[in-house]
C-alpha cells in the first residue's frame, strides 16, 4: 500500500449535493430536444441533433418542431404530444426513420412532458434480437407464484430478467429501513463475479439519486466510456433542462467510476417501489457495452412491479405466520406461567419458547435478588448493570434498541452477544426485567466464501468499489443488531402484561394472606394476653396460698406432707414459667424484625459472662473464634445465641471439663455460626424433632427445660431468612448451627 498517497477518498455524501437531474448533458446513443408544450417551438437540443437532421443544431433552436421531424411528422404526432401529462413516465410514441437522405436511421421516439416542456428523445434502435416480452413476463409471474422465500423470489426474478435482457449479471437487492442494501438475488455468467449477499451502506446511493430512482424507474448506461453530448439552449443562461425522466440523461462521474471499478461497462437499474418509496433495485450489468431497447426496459419495470407485489404478499404472509407462531409460543409460555404461578421458572424452563418467541439469541430474567439467563447473553454482572440503568432511566414498561451501545455505552463491551435489547419491566418498585438479546449483525452475516474476495482491486487501488462499500457497511452496522419487529415488540408487551398479571395475582393472594395473618395475629395477641392474665393469676394464687400454708403449718407437717406442698409450689411455678416462655415464643413470631449490624463477638461475650454464676464449680473452657459481622435483630439474635449457649452449658454439665466452641464463617451467600459442646449429645434419629415446640429428647429429671428453647431459636433464625440444623453423637457432644443471609456491605 502506498502510505504517502494523500488522495482523499471520494466523499460519497458530497454526491448528495450534485444536481444529477440537470446535468446539461446526455449520453450519445440518441438525440434529445425540448420543445414548448403550447406551440412545439424547439427551445433546447443536444449538440448531436444534426445527426438526425443534417443541418446545424443551432439553426433549429427557436424554430418549429417541423424543422426536425417535418410537417408531416408534427401533424402525425401532435395529437399524442398534446395528451402528454407532466410527471408521467416517458412513452415510446413510435419508431421513426430520420437522418440526412441516404443515411437515414431508425429511432425510437420517446416523449414525456415536464411542465411547459415536452422532451423528445430519439434513441437509435437496437438491432439485436430480444426475447418476446409477453411470454417472459408470463414465465416470471408463474415462477413468482411458487416462490416461498425472499431468496427464491429474488433469484427467480434475477434469472428471468437476465434471460430477457441478456446481461452478464442481474442483481436484485433491497434496502432496509436505514437505506442499507443487501444483494438478495443474483443470476450471472462467468463474465462478472458474484455479488450475492453483498451489503452496502446507504451512502452508496446518494439521497438525491434515491429520489430520482423513486420517480424515474429505469436508468440505463449502455457504455460507461461514452462521450457525453452537451445540450444547447436557444438563448444563453437558460435554466438547465430537468432530465429526471430522460432516458438519455448523462450520469455522475462518480457513478461512472464506481461502474468501472466494478468492471461493469454497461448497466441498467430498475427501481422496486413499495408504497411509493424506493424499496430495492433490479440491476443489470455487462462486461462489454450493451444496449437494451425500450420495450425490454419497460418489461423489466413490470418485473420490478411484479416482484414488489409478490414480495409484499409474501411478507404479509410471513408476518402473519410469524404472528401465529409468536401467538402459539406466547400461549405456551402463558400456560406454563399460570400453571406454576411463578413466571420466572415458567420462562426459564421453556428456554426455546422464550428465545424463539422474539427470535433472540439470549434472554435473562433479572430482579433485585436473582439473575437467570438462557442462550447467549452478557455476564450476569453486566445484565444487572443494564437492569439498573433501565430502571434509573424510568424504562419500567418496554424498551428496545437495535444499537444498545449508542444509548448505554457499557454495552460496547458485549456488542457481539447483545447489540440489540428488548426488555420488559415487570416491577415499578425495583429493577425487575425480562430481557432478550440479539447479536451484532456483522457477526450474523454469512459470507459463504466472502464474495468481496472475488473482486480484484484495480491497479492503483480503488477509491470506490463494492468491496469498500462492504467495509463501509460493516462500519455503519457495527454494534447493531437486526431490528425488533413490530409483532415481536407487541408480543413482548403482551407477555409483560401477562407477567404483571401473574405477579399481581400473587400480590393479591399475598395481600389476602396478609390480611388473614393480621387478623389471626391480633386474635393470637388477645389470646396471649388472656392466657397470660387468666392462667397466671390462678397459678400465682396456688403458689401464694401454698406458701402461706407451708408457713403456718410447717411445724405440724411430716416430711412427706412438706414434700407434697413443695411439689405443689414447684409445679405451679413451673407452669407459670411455661406460660411465660410460651408467650415469649409467640412474641418472637409477631415482633417486627429490626435489622441492624450486630457484633456477635460482643453478644457472645456478654451472654457468657451472665451464664455462669461466679460461685459455680463448673470447669468450662470456652473457645470462641472471631465471628463475622451479621445483620439482624439485636434482641432476637441475643435470645437465639443465649439459648444455644445455655444448652451447651446445660448438656455438658456432667463433663469434668466442658469444652464449648463457638465458630463462624462465611460460605456462599450465608454466614454460618456453630455452637459445639462435648456434652451428652443426642441420637441423630431424632434430629428432626429437635427444633419442634415442646419436643424434648431427655427426661425432665435428667435435664430441666420446657422444650421451647430450640423452637424459639428456629423461629428467630427463620424470620431472619436463615436456617437451623444440628449434628450430634450420643455421649460425645453436639453442634448446633444457624445461618444468616450474608451482609452485602
Amino acid at each position: 500500500m502506498n502510505s504517502t498517497d494523500t488522495t482523499e477518498p471520494p466523499d460519497l455524501m458530497s454526491c448528495d449535493r450534485e444536481p444529477i437531474h440537470i446535468p446539461g448533458r446526455i449520453q450519445p446513443q440518441g438525440v434529445l430536444l425540448a420543445v414548448d408544450f403550447k406551440d412545439f417551438t424547439v427551445r433546447q437540443a443536444s449538440e448531436n441533433l444534426h445527426t438526425i437532421t443534417g443541418s446545424p443544431t443551432a439553426d433549429l433552436l427557436g424554430g418549429p418542431l417541423a424543422g426536425v421531424i417535418g410537417e408531416e411528422g408534427v401533424r402525425h404526432l401532435s395529437g399524442r404530444l398534446r395528451r402528454l401529462v407532466s410527471g408521467e413516465r416517458p412513452e415510446c410514441l413510435e419508431t421513426v426513420r430520420l437522418g440526412p437522405s441516404g443515411q437515414e436511421k431508425k429511432y425510437d421516439l420517446i416523449a414525456h412532458r415536464n411542465n411547459g416542456k415536452i422532451i423528445l428523445e430519439f434513441e437509435s434502435i437496437v438491432t439485436e434480437e430480444f426475447p418476446e416480452t409477453h411470454s417472459a413476463l408470463e414465465s416470471l409471474l408463474g415462477q413468482l407464484e411458487t416462490a416461498k422465500t425472499l431468496a427464491e423470489l429474488s433469484n427467480q426474478t434475477a434469472a428471468e430478467a437476465r434471460r430477457l435482457t441478456g446481461f452478464d449479471r442481474i442483481l436484485v437487492y433491497l434496502f432496509d429501513e436505514e437505506g442499507n442494501g443487501t444483494v438478495l438475488g443474483e443470476d450471472r455468467n462467468e463474465n462478472l463475479p458474484s455479488y450475492l449477499g453483498l451489503r452496502f451502506p446507504a451512502s452508496d446511493i446518494p439521497r438525491q439519486a434515491r429520489e430520482l430512482y423513486r420517480v424515474s424507474h429505469v436508468r440505463i448506461i449502455p457504455d460507461v466510456d461514452y462521450q457525453a453530448v452537451g445540450v444547447l439552449a436557444e438563448r444563453p443562461f437558460t435554466e438547465p433542462l430537468d432530465l429526471t425522466h430522460a432516458i438519455l440523461r448523462s450520469v455522475s462521474p462518480v457513478h461512472l467510476e464506481y461502474m468501472r471499478n466494478m468492471r461493469t461497462i454497461a448497466s441498467m437499474s430498475v427501481s422496486i417501489l413499495r408504497d411509493g418509496q424506493l424499496w430495492g433495485l433490479i440491476s443489470g450489468h455487462h462486461a462489454t457495452p450493451r444496449r437494451i431497447p425500450f420495450t425490454i426496459r419497460r418489461s423489466c419495470d413490470l418485473f420490478a412491479k411484479a416482484f414488489a407485489l409478490r414480495l409484499s404478499a409474501l411478507e404479509r404472509t410471513q408476518e402473519l405466520e410469524r404472528r401465529v407462531e409468536v401467538r402459539a409460543l406466547f400461549s405456551k409460555l402463558l400456560a406454563v406461567m399460570a400453571g406454576r404461578g411463578d413466571y420466572v421458572r415458567g420462562l426459564l424452563e421453556n428456554a426455546h419458547e422464550l428465545l424463539s418467541f422474539v427470535d433472540a439469541g439470549g434472554a435473562a430474567v433479572v430482579s433485585e435478588s436473582f439473575c437467570e439467563v438462557v442462550g447467549e447473553t452478557p455476564t450476569k454482572e453486566q445484565i444487572r448493570e443494564l437492569a439498573n440503568w433501565l430502571f434509573a432511566g424510568g424504562h419500567t414498561e418496554v424498551f428496545h434498541s437495535e444499537s444498545l451501545a449508542t444509548v448505554f455505552p457499557p454495552a460496547g463491551e458485549f456488542g457481539s452477544t447483545a447489540s440489540g435489547l428488548l426488555a420488559i419491566g415487570v416491577s415499578k418498585l425495583h429493577a425487575g426485567y425480562v430481557m432478550w438479546f440479539r447479536p451484532e449483525v456483522v457477526r450474523t452475516v454469512n459470507w459463504a466464501g466472502d464474495p468481496a474476495k472475488s473482486m480484484t482491486p484495480a491497479p492503483g487501488g480503488e477509491r470506490i468499489s463494492p468491496r469498500q462499500s462492504f467495509e463501509m457497511w460493516k462500519e455503519t452496522v457495527r454494534g447493531k443488531s437486526l431490528s425488533w419487529r413490530e409483532a415481536e415488540v407487541e408480543a413482548a408487551i403482551e407477555l409483560r402484561n401477562a407477567i404483571v398479571g401473574v405477579v399481581l395475582r400473587k400480590a393479591e393472594e399475598m395481600a389476602d394472606l396478609t390480611a388473614e395473618l393480621t387478623r389471626s395475629n391480633s386474635e393470637l395477641e388477645s389470646f396471649s394476653y388472656s392466657v397470660s392474665h387468666d392462667l397466671r393469676a390462678p397459678l400465682r394464687h396456688v403458689v401464694g396460698y401454698a406458701e402461706m400454708l407451708k408457713d403456718s403449718v410447717s411445724d405440724r407437717l411430716t416430711e412427706t406432707d412438706q414434700r407434697y406442698i413443695r411439689t405443689i409450689i414447684e409445679s405451679s411455678e413451673f407452669a407459670g414459667m411455661l406460660v411465660d416462655k410460651l408467650l415469649a415464643f409467640s412474641r418472637m413470631g409477631r415482633m417486627e424484625v429490626v435489622r441492624t449490624k450486630v457484633d456477635l463477638n460482643k453478644l457472645v461475650e456478654e451472654i457468657r459472662r451472665q451464664l455462669i454464676a461466679p460461685d459455680s464449680e463448673r470447669r468450662i473452657t470456652w473457645k470462641i473464634e472471631p465471628l463475622p459481622p451479621v445483620r439482624g435483630d439485636q434482641t432476637m439474635l441475643r435470645m437465639a445465641m443465649q439459648n444455644l449457649m445455655e444448652n451447651a452449658v446445660k448438656y455438658s454439665r456432667d463433663r469434668e471439663e466442658a469444652i464449648i466452641e463457638i465458630t463462624g464463617h462465611e460460605e456462599g451467600k450465608e454466614t454460618i455460626i456453630a455452637v459445639r459442646d462435648n456434652g451428652i449429645g443426642f441420637d441423630m434419629r431424632y434430629v428432626d424433632k429437635l427444633f419442634g415446640i415442646f419436643q424434648r429428647l431427655h427426661r425432665v429429671e435428667e435435664y430441666e427445660g420446657t422444650g421451647i428453647g430450640l423452637a424459639n431459636v428456629r423461629r428467630v433464625i427463620s424470620r431472619h431468612g436463615g436456617r437451623t440444623w444440628a449434628e450430634a453423637i450420643v455421649g460425645q457432644g453436639a453442634v448446633f448451627y444457624f445461618s444468616l443471609p450474608r451482609t452485602t456491605t
Binding site: E525, S528, Y529, S532, H533, R536, A537, L539, R540, H541, V543, G544, Y545, A546, E547, M548, I569, S572, E573, A575, G576, M577, D580, L583, R587
Partner: protein, 151 residues
C-alpha cells in the same frame, strides 16, 4: 407521720397475697384498700364514702391495671391531671408483661410497675422493695397524715 399506702386491687386473692407481702415487709404505713378504680378516685378526691376522711395524700398508690368500672390507667390519668395529686408516686401492678397497656401507663407517667410473679417469695420481695422505696425512703411531702395501721 407516715402517709398511708393506697392499694387498689379487685381480686380478693391477689389482695390478700399483696397485704401479706406488705405486712411481711414490716412497713409502718397504713394500707388503705380500695376495690376498684372508682373507689380509688373517691378516696383520692375525698368524695362519696371518703368525703370526710382526713386531708392528705398517700405515700404511694399501688394500682392493679385491670379493675372493674374504672381501671388503673384511668385512675393514673386523673392523678396526673390533678395539681395536688400529680406528685404522688404510682406503681402499677400487672398480671403479666404481655399487658398491652403497660406502654401506655409509662406514657402517662407511672413511676414503676410490678409484674406479679407466680413465685410468692419473689412477689414478697418485689412488694417489699417498692414499699420501702416509696413509703419509707421518700421524704413525706407537706400535708401527710400520721399513719394508722389497719389490718
Amino acid at each position: 407521720m407516715l402517709k398511708p399506702i393506697l392499694l387498689a386491687e379487685d381480686n380478693p386473692k391477689d389482695l390478700e397475697l399483696t397485704l401479706v407481702a406488705l405486712a411481711k415487709s414490716n412497713l409502718a404505713n397504713e394500707v388503705v384498700v380500695v376495690r376498684d378504680g372508682e373507689e380509688a378516685l373517691d378516696y383520692l378526691f375525698r368524695r362519696g364514702p371518703y368525703e370526710n376522711r382526713e386531708h392528705g395524700h398517700p405515700a404511694v398508690i399501688l394500682l392493679d391495671l385491670k379493675m372493674p368500672k374504672v381501671d388503673g390507667l384511668q385512675v393514673l390519668e386523673q392523678v396526673r391531671a390533678d395539681k395536688e395529686l400529680r406528685s404522688v408516686p404510682v406503681v402499677m401492678l400487672t398480671s403479666s408483661r404481655e399487658e398491652p397497656d403497660l406502654r401506655k401507663s409509662y406514657d402517662m407517667g407511672v413511676n414503676a410497675y410490678v409484674v406479679k410473679p407466680v413465685a410468692f417469695r419473689e412477689f414478697i420481695s418485689a412488694i417489699q422493695d417498692l414499699g420501702v422505696f416509696w413509703a419509707v425512703l421518700n421524704e413525706p411531702p407537706v400535708g401527710s397524715v400520721k399513719p394508722v395501721i389497719k389490718k
